[in-house]
Symmetry: C2
Subunit: 167 residues, 2 copies
């Protein structure tokens, strides 16, 4: 291929993105991971997508449960992001113990305080693309968090945005 | 549906994202639009996706040309973003006249100075989802821009990130 994996990753580090903890629960058990590859798809029906590594332990759990919640992190939540990204070596129970969670409609864990917004979704379609699964998820419920800043991942570091007025 | 279009849009405004000018050129002609719904999919082969409104004038042009370039904007480029988002009423030629462009491999217009990174891509697959087309695009070439900050769209406003060191 003309673009190497390292070139691709270095370039993608410049595509800034919100930091989300994506969770699931259900018949296959509870899981969660930190994701920046999340985006809006269509408002009819309200749908977003999440890209999930096919080699990850959680991949099969998300598909079997058929539900997920995208918790978009507030600017102060770097340690929660790190934990769900696998830094620190906590197991699933250890990660979830770091915050307070509740449920909305689907049963996927929804952050109580640490999210600027949470999207509670049912997985409607899965497309396998190379190393990743693209999960198309229809939104069944939304929880708006408190007003305030969000956490952005850019050039391999965390950046707060929106703590002051937009410029 | 249980989540209204307005609720969906208000919630999506809290999912911060990089601001990109996505361009095409070829047999169907030149077009460009401002997009925040862009994300990395897989590094094998290096692939990203772009969501494009099916009702937009450019939709058919992108598909016929079969190529696109994602130009991820630097923090100072709000006016370029506004122009390609349709604010100000400029036509296609007027929008492109606002910046300097060149070509890499596919022939899609690549920003010379205003991007932190540019992904020159060939459209490999299109998935229609409700109001939007999801364009899966394989990356044929990359141009890294100068170091510096990027432009983030969050809560319906622009925010610079990365102009100082990550925190």
């Amino acid at each position: 291929m003309s673009v190497s994996r390292d070139e691709f990753r270095d370039a993608m580090a410049r595509l800034g993105a919100a930091v989300n903890v994506v969770t699931t629960d259900g018949i296959a058990g509870r899981a969660g991971f930190t994701a920046s590859a999340v985006c809006s798809v269509t408002d009819d029906p309200p749908t977003l997508l999440v890209c999930l590594n096919r080699a990850s332990r959680g991949n099969a759990l998300f598909k079997r449960n058929g539900v997920l919640c995208v918790n978009t992190l507030a600017s102060g939540c770097r340690s929660l992001s790190d934990a769900f990204a696998g830094k620190g070596g906590l197991d699933t129970d250890g990660r979830f113990a770091l915050a307070q969670w509740s449920r909305l409609v689907t049963g996927a864990p929804v952050l109580d305080d640490a999210a600027v917004v949470a999207f509670d979704c049912r997985i409607a379609e899965v497309l396998e693309k190379g190393t990743h699964s693209v999960l198309f998820a229809e939104i069944e419920a939304i929880r708006q968090g408190a007003p305030g800043g969000a956490l952005i991942w850019y050039r391999r570091g965390y950046h707060p945005v929106g703590e002051v007025e937009a410029v």
